[in-house]
Every structure is written in structure tokens, then in C-alpha cells.
């Protein structure tokens, strides 16, 4: 176990997998000597060379297509998309090609491709570089979607994603890269895709989230504890396949459910999970399910506006507190 930043954990995961399996390659914009726009591939070019760490033109469809073509011909590529917002440029390759090839071909082939990208607001990057579009990809059969919140999860999940024989959207969060945490050094340390984790135990209310909002939920839980509400915090970690059993088990205990996300509210991850909770846990609920999402607006530039659009610890605490009159035992 060693302390690593989220960025270092990602680099370490890729380096270990590239050492382990010669078929693993990294391709994307500025991923070579420059080390990636977020610095998340620093050192890989020096260790593995230009044959396995490939700088591309700014041609997003070509990047994703290259990843797919390599995956179909025996390689295990990682294609980096600098910002998740740029997926709009190459959506056909993701939606109609990567996600569908295996199915359309009746299982004749497989697509061991990881598309690494980063999402999220909070750095004043404005409307085209700050979005959380994970719901788009979670909507599509054929893709897996992973969004780690901690350095440990980032490493263990990325290694599993690289070893997976299916296409995985691995979406990092731009505010997490410098966060530190303990990360196992064992090259066989893996976290299975599709498994949520209880990040904090509590019996009064269930807060479920993914990516950076998990950390906000943990801070909110600390605040709520001071007010006498013990929140359970579940980090979904993988959005597709989704570990709904973990949510259900928690709601059975708390009878109250909140989803916190940084994506847009309409047809988002929270909307999906709330629908499942309504379908499967209706009789368990003491409280209508609550969604806390970004505001239904493009992400603005000015800090005061940007902070207003994305869920904050304060907003989570206030929302839960305002709903407490529903509670029987809070």
C-alpha cells in the first residue's frame, strides 16, 4: 500500500497492464511525451515508446475508430478522449460502431477497448469542457461505464477495464486528479466492474452517487451526523452494469433514498436509479425518492454561476434536512 494521487493511480494502472500484456496500447491526443492534457499518461511514452503510446492528430472519430480497429485485430487499446464533451465529435464511432460490432456480427468478435476520458465541472472551463455526459453512454447496450471517485478505485477499476473483453467507457473527473489516497501496489490488485461499494455506513438514509459527488456525499454525511442523521453512502463506481442489489439492500435498511450526480437532471443516472427504486423498493420507502443533479442548464464560466449549477455539500445537506419531516425515526 502506498499513497498515490488519482492521476498517479491511473498512470500506474496503465503501466502495470502494459508491462503485463504487450497488446495493451495507448492512443490519443498529446498522450506521448507531453503526458496527456491532464498529465494522466506521464512517463508511459518513456517506458513503452512511440509504438505503444501513440500521439494522434486532433481527429476524435479517427482515435475511437483506431481503437476499435486495433481491438478487432488482436490488440487491447486504450483510446484517450481528452474531454468527454468531445464525444460529440465521435459519437457514431462509440454509439454505432464500438458498442454494436460484437452484437451485429452475432458474437464473431469482441471489442477489448477502453475509452478513457474525463468529465465534470469546477474549473471554470465553461459549457464545452465541463459536462458530465455519463448518462449518454449508460443508455447504450454494449458499453460498460465506469466512474471512479478515489485513487484506489481508479487503479483497481482501470486494470479490470483493460482486462475486460468488452468496450468500457472509463470516465475520470477533472477535479480528482490531485486527490491522494492509499493504493495497493500488488500488480494483481483488481476491483471487479459492476460492484458498488458502501463508502460509509448509516441507517437513516441512503445517499447513492458516483465520481466526485461521492466525496460530497461523504462530507454531507459528516454534517448530517452532527444533526443526528446517519447517512449511508454508496459509491456505484460502475454505472453499467449497475449494482442495483447494493442499493436495494441499503434501502431495505434505511427506507430513504437520495441520488446525487453532477450530470443534467433530465433522463440522467439519478432518474434511472430512482425509477428502479420506485419499481423494486416502493413498499420500502418512507420518503419519496430524491434526485440531486446539476441544474438544467449548460455549465457556465463565472465561478459564482458554475458553483450554483453543480451539487454542493451544502445543497445535499439542505435537501436531506428539508425532507426530514417525512422521517419516522430521524
Amino acid at each position: 500500500m502506498a499513497e498515490r494521487t488519482y492521476r498517479e493511480a491511473i498512470i500506474e494502472a496503465m503501466a502495470e497492464e502494459m508491462r503485463r500484456d504487450e497488446r495493451v496500447v495507448l492512443i490519443g491526443e498529446d498522450v506521448g511525451k507531453f503526458g496527456g492534457a491532464m498529465g494522466a499518461s506521464k512517463g508511459l511514452f518513456e517506458e513503452f515508446g512511440a509504438g505503444r503510446v501513440i500521439d494522434t492528430p486532433i481527429s476524435e472519430a479517427a482515435i475511437i475508430g483506431s481503437g476499435l480497429g486495433m481491438a478487432l485485430t488482436g490488440q487491447r487499446p486504450i483510446a484517450e478522449l481528452m474531454f468527454i464533451d468531445f464525444s460529440g465529435v465521435c459519437m457514431d464511432q462509440i454509439l454505432n460502431q464500438v458498442a454494436k460490432v460484437r452484437y451485429m456480427l452475432g458474437g464473431q468478435t469482441q471489442v477489448p477497448l477502453v475509452i478513457r476520458s474525463q468529465a465534470g465541472a469546477g474549473k471554470g472551463y465553461a459549457a464545452q469542457h465541463s459536462q458530465s455526459l455519463e448518462a449518454w453512454f449508460t443508455h447504450v447496450p454494449g458499453l460498460k461505464v465506469v466512474m471512479p471517485a478515489t485513487p484506489r478505485d481508479a487503479k483497481g477499476l482501470l486494470k479490470s477495464a483493460i482486462r475486460d473483453n468488452n468496450p468500457v467507457m472509463f470516465i475520470e473527473h477533472k477535479l480528482l486528479y490531485n486527490n491522494k489516497g492509499d493504493v495497493p501496489g500488488d500488480p494483481e490488485f483488481l476491483i471487479p466492474l459492476g460492484k458498488a461499494e458502501i463508502k460509509r455506513e448509516g441507517q437513516d438514509i441512503t445517499l447513492v452517487s458516483h465520481s466526485r459527488q461521492v466525496l460530497n456525499c461523504l462530507d454531507a454525511a459528516t454534517e448530517l451526523a452532527k444533526k443526528g442523521i446517519e447517512a449511508e453512502v454508496i459509491d456505484l463506481r460502475t454505472l453499467r452494469p449497475m449494482d442495483f442489489e447494493a442499493i436495494q439492500a441499503s434501502v431495505e435498511k434505511t427506507n430513504r433514498f437520495v441520488y446525487v450526480e453532477e450530470g443534467y437532471p433530465q433522463c440522467g443516472i439519478a432518474a434511472e436509479v430512482v425509477a428502479r427504486v420506485a419499481e423494486h423498493c416502493f413498499e420500502l420507502l418512507d420518503l419519496p425518492p430524491i434526485r440531486i443533479s446539476a441544474k438544467d442548464t449548460p455549465i457556465p464560466f463565472a465561478r459564482v454561476l458554475e458553483q450554483e449549477t453543480i451539487p454542493s455539500v451544502h445543497r445535499i445537506v439542505e435537501t436531506v434536512w428539508a425532507a426530514r419531516h417525512w422521517a419516522v425515526h430521524a
Binding site: 475508430g65 480497429g69 488482436g74 464473431q108
Partner: protein, 327 residues
């Protein structure tokens, strides 16, 4: 237009004829099956008239070379070695089809023969070809990728991304543009800045060649050069094959955008019938030999259709198989 003649052996010439005729007969039967209501779904995009492209280009490839195909891809699939029975079974949506009934006409491919897939999205195969090229380079093999696309694909952004990157990275790719003059109804000349599509190659500093797509030997000659260049590590080529789709885009297309006279003029240049006469007149094959070829292919078609019709449907409960790998 390049119109060079290579000195092909009678065996190769007869095999080119056979391949074109296989494609022609396969497609004619597909058309009849659809018209009679035995095939369902979107009407198949037939490549009748374009046989010389698939047969000529793919005749220059090795078994382990890759192709990427299009929505008008039955010919490419056959020429790369696919079996008619499994192809018809796919058209019928049967479990024995190449895609086990999950793909249909626009997605038939035999991956084991190096066909990395047909595509329902215009221009979408080009970025995927880059990856196959990168993979070849990394593995250090002498394989080649042939990426087929239509004239309309040259106006998609993916065309630019892919041709640029293929040249910048010197990838072993042959870009084959099958220019059948129309994107559904729209004449390419009305929507293309360059009347000669191979002129686009200049912008990517790669060789650009336009060849008569109704002449299978001319296609083969041009493809031979381009494939040799790719295999020798000398980078990509844009090969424009000028051809004609004799039928509509699909069954509901009654071709109001072109004259019957124009079509008749192109029928006079039928690549299959013309080549048959040529082989006989030049003594490369006798009438009797070619009749035998015709009969063999008719049997192959009939057996393929019979296999497909006798095959079981996929199990409805298995509609979610192959979305992900079984772990």
C-alpha cells in the same frame, strides 16, 4: 482513367469471371426473394453493376488481409471468401447466418476471413481501417487493409480524418471509393467540390487513381499496384472505382433522378456479360467451360437458399446474447 491491361492467365481471368458471376447471381436471387416477400426488413442494397470492384480488388489480397465493407457489401463479403448459405441465412434472419440473425443484410461479414464488418453508417468504416492498419504495423506483419466506401462517404468528416492520418502514419491501407455516381438520389457531381474523386488524394499527398469500374482487369491492375505499395510499407492509396448501380438504392427507389437511357448505356457496359464475351473472343475460355461455371453457380445459389430456408430461426429468448462477452 487508368486502363492498363495486365497479362493475366486464363485461370485468373476465369476466376475473376466466376467471382463476378457469383456476386451477380447472389444479388439477383436476393432481389427476387425480397420482391416475393420471402425476405423481410429493410430492402437489401444490391451491388448489381458493381461486381468488378469487389472481384477485381479482392482478387489481389491474401487470405489474412483485412477488408472493411459498406451497406452495399454482399459482393465484398462473397469475394473475401464467405459461403453463400450462411449469407442467405443471415438475409433470412436465421440462427445459421454469419451474424446469427442479429445483423442482416447491412452487417453480413465472415470475420474469420478478414472481413472486419460491413457498415450501415456512410463513412464509418474508414476510422476502423486505421486501427487495423496500426495493428498490422505494431505486429510487424505484411498484411494490408482494403477499406471500401461509396462516393458519398468522401463528403463525411471521417474521410478526411482517416485519409490524413493514414498518410501521416504511413499505414498499409488501400482506400477504395466505389463511385456509383449517386448518393441515394443525389448525383455526386452536384455535391462534390472535385468532379474526380481521386483528386482528393492530392490533399493527403498520396497517390490517387481513377479506374474504369466496369472493367475487372483494369480494377485488378490498379488494385495490384496499390496493394503492393501498401505491403511494401510505402503507404496508402486512394483508388476511385467508377462504377454504376444498376438497381435503385433499395427496392422502393424507382430512380426518378436519372433517365432510363442513362441506365441502358451503362447496361451496355455490363462488367459481367462483357467480360464473358471477352474471355470467349480472346480464347481464355470456351463457351462450354463458361456454361459450366454458370451452372455451378446456379447450383451454389440454389443450395444456399435451400440451406437458409431450412435453417432454424434464432431463439427469441436469446435476443440479448452477444451484447457482451460471456465471462
Amino acid at each position: 482513367m487508368v486502363n492498363t491491361r495486365s497479362n493475366l492467365s486464363p485461370e485468373i481471368r476465369k476466376s475473376l469471371y466466376r467471382q463476378m458471376l457469383r456476386i451477380r447471381k447472389f444479388e439477383e436471387t436476393t432481389h427476387a426473394l425480397y420482391k416475393s416477400g420471402r425476405l423481410t426488413g429493410m430492402s437489401p442494397h444490391l451491388c448489381i453493376g458493381e461486381e468488378a470492384s469487389a472481384a477485381g480488388v479482392i482478387s489481389t489480397l491474401n487470405a489474412d488481409d483485412y477488408i472493411l465493407s459498406t451497406h452495399r457489401g454482399h459482393g465484398h463479403c462473397l469475394a473475401k471468401g464467405a459461403e453463400m448459405g450462411k449469407m442467405y441465412a443471415e438475409l433470412f434472419g436465421k440462427e445459421t447466418g454469419y451474424c446469427r440473425g442479429r445483423g442482416g443484410s447491412m452487417h453480413i461479414a465472415d470475420v474469420s476471413r478478414g472481413n472486419l464488418g460491413a457498415n450501415g453508417i456512410v463513412g464509418a468504416g474508414l476510422p476502423i481501417a486505421l486501427g487495423a492498419g496500426l495493428s498490422i504495423r505494431k505486429r510487424g506483419t505484411r498484411q494490408v487493409v482494403v477499406c471500401f466506401f461509396g462516393d458519398a462517404a468522401t463528403n463525411q468528416g471521417t474521410f478526411h480524418e482517416a485519409l490524413n492520418m493514414s498518410k501521416a502514419f504511413h499505414l498499409p491501407i488501400v482506400w477504395v471509393c466505389e463511385n456509383n455516381l449517386y448518393g441515394l438520389s443525389t448525383p455526386i457531381e452536384k455535391v462534390s467540390a472535385t468532379p474526380m474523386l481521386s483528386d482528393r488524394a492530392k490533399g493527403y499527398a498520396m497517390p490517387g487513381v481513377t479506374v474504369d469500374g466496369m472493367d475487372v482487369e483494369a480494377v485488378r491492375a490498379a488494385a495490384t499496384e496499390a496493394v503492393a505499395r501498401a505491403r511494401a510499407g510505402e503507404g496508402p492509396t486512394l483508388l476511385e472505382v467508377r462504377t454504376y448501380r444498376y438497381f435503385g438504392h433499395g427496392a422502393s427507389d424507382h430512380r426518378p433522378y436519372r433517365t432510363r437511357e442513362e441506365e441502358q448505356n451503362w447496361w451496355k457496359r455490363d462488367p459481367v456479360a462483357g467480360y464473358r464475351m471477352k474471355l470467349i473472343s480472346e480464347g481464355a475460355g470456351s463457351e462450354a467451360e463458361l456454361v459450366e461455371v454458370d451452372q455451378e453457380i446456379e447450383k451454389e445459389v440454389a443450395a444456399g437458399v435451400a440451406f437458409a430456408e431450412a435453417s432454424p430461426d434464432p431463439k427469441a429468448a436469446e435476443s440479448s446474447l452477444y451484447v457482451y462477452t460471456e465471462e
